[in-house]
């Protein structure tokens, strides 16, 4: 099942990239279409971000991931590169779990 998901997802991703090279420009260049395409990543990333921080299955929870997200926010505000933000999130979450402060 995971393989099917991986492959279908990959084919769709390639199809979108390839579409831009073969279809006539006017189909994608209306202002509304551009806005939609630029807002979709913003919206999905924001949704994924909070859901993957505050949920466990369909329950809302607060655990060590919140601390991790806080550390990532500080890193990014200080203009740290992506990898540093991700590492600081993992390290801080691991630390508060090790100390037993949050599950």
């Amino acid at each position: 099942m995971i393989w099917a998901t991986v492959l279908i997802g990959s084919i769709s991703a390639f199809a979108l990239k390839f579409a831009g090279f073969v279809i006539p420009e006017r189909f994608l260049t209306t202002t509304t279409m551009r806005r939609v395409t630029l807002l979709i990543p913003v919206s999905l990333l924001a949704g994924l971000l909070v859901v993957q921080t505050f949920s466990s299955g369909s329950t809302l929870v607060i655990d060590a991931r919140v601390v991790g997200l806080g550390a990532a926010t500080v890193s990014l505000a200080l203009r740290a590169p992506l990898l540093v933000a991700v590492l600081s999130a993992a390290a801080s979450a691991a630390l508060v779990r090790y100390l037993g402060w949050l599950p």
Partner: protein, 240 residues
Amino acid sequence: MTALTPERRRRIIIDAIGIGAATGAYAISFGAISVAAGLSVLQTQALSSLMFTGASQFAMVGVLGAGGGAVTAIAIATLLGSRNALYALHMSTVLRPRGWRRLAAAQLTIDESTGMAIGHQDDPPSSRLAFWSTGVAVFVLWNLGTLVGALGADVLGNPARFGLDAAIPAAFLALLWPRLVSRLTRTVAVLSAAVALILTPLLPSGTPVLVAGAIAVTIGVLLSRGAQETEEFGQKAVGS
């Protein structure tokens, strides 16, 4: 800037390798997160070489790891990849590729390669070199980084102990950050986050994000109607 002098050529290639190295380092975290989410090393590697668009890859393993369904995972990953179609549209006018080059160009069309090409759009040969060199550098190092991270996580085991579950939202935040450049994008982000949280206890895993996306993007487009177009490809090249 002027035409493609040897000096400019060298600078473009050095920049491309630099961007490749940065995303390659980032790919280590993708590899680790993906294996922690339950994908095998080979499946993780398949995503990096076949899907090859970072945000979609993170989303797919994030949704699968959180117990979301295959259809939801594919839908979110595909929607996140839709911006690549817009990038490709721009690149097709710059590259005008034919035959196998068209397939290769399509696969290498991501944030970084398009961003670099636009950075050198004053001179078409420079722009083309920027696209190809960045695309190839990122592809090679992104896949190498993925392998290192996936093998590493395979050895470490127990993802929560190392905070890898906290790394996933951090990755989404890092990808989102450079896009929060206007009030419109910030409004849409906050709205999406709020709606997704409210819907989480009510809908199956993964779908709250999709529904929130549909609502927030619709409102965002309505809000921006009549406004000046300010954002084009304004996002900095970060994450693929």
